[in-house]
Symmetry: C2
Subunit: 143 residues, 2 copies
Amino acid sequence: MPQPPDSRQWQETLRERGYRLTPQRELVLAAVEELGHATPDEVLAKVHERSSAVNISTVYRTLELLESLGLVRHTHLTDRAPTYHSRSGDEHVHLVCRGCERVLEAHLSEFDELAAALQQRHGFTPDVGHLTVFGTCADCRDA
Amino acid sequence: MPQPPDSRQWQETLRERGYRLTPQRELVLAAVEELGHATPDEVLAKVHERSSAVNISTVYRTLELLESLGLVRHTHLTDRAPTYHSRSGDEHVHLVCRGCERVLEAHLSEFDELAAALQQRHGFTPDVGHLTVFGTCADCRDA
DNA sequence: TTCGGTGCAAATTTTTTGCACCCGC
DNA sequence: GCGGGTGCAAAAAATTTGCACCGAA
């Protein structure tokens, strides 16, 4: 589970690189932390719950910034729209069930062997943390 | 490499399910076969090379149909836009290099072990044929 | 002849951009 | 006060949809 982010740490990350700390950036990051996986749209909605009005363009711009800083990442959990998630917790691979849309998480170490094989056979270094695997979960297969 | 598709076979598939055989459908399928991996946009361009004017809406509708018939598949090779490929040849996993945008192909069997592991540990049956792995190819890593 | 398929244009949806104003540092 | 950040509105993509007409079976 995502630890409550250490605010000092990411505030530091921003400043180090010469970026400013704004309430919008704080709100967007908090929303991503809380939602787990969320599209820009969903992030906006979450932020609005807390009443503070933030513009959708700012959400896009902020997510892009946070990603460039390594504070969030995105993957494609559905055929449309990227979804962002925090990197404060463990990195993981997303297992998306086509039946129920549920998202399971697999530990990166489960892909070590695969990574080594792709490296050796294709000279390809996979970015496993960005990986999304589609398929069917146990419940949906049995149903 | 993709075999020249046996036209009788897919024409049969269409009729079996009560769909009509139209020149547009023929052109779109041929374009996908030829391109290997292509976005709807690229398919349209390819079709237009052969002069026959086909509308972009028809491309979208046709790709959707062909996919429902199992004649093509799509994956997400870039952050934007799905790419379609034929299923007449071997199924494979796409390895997309972030550096040069090149797309390598890995054999499905390379993922057997992974599939078994995910099945056992998460009860999850991966759809490996839909998989896309992002990363860095040998050339770009060394560069 | 029939009704599924297509073209066209307009509507949606999602993301990007230009620019004037605002506020963190 | 300076210069990066934000809001807003308009522009750009990328898809989808309604509808009248066309042509495969």
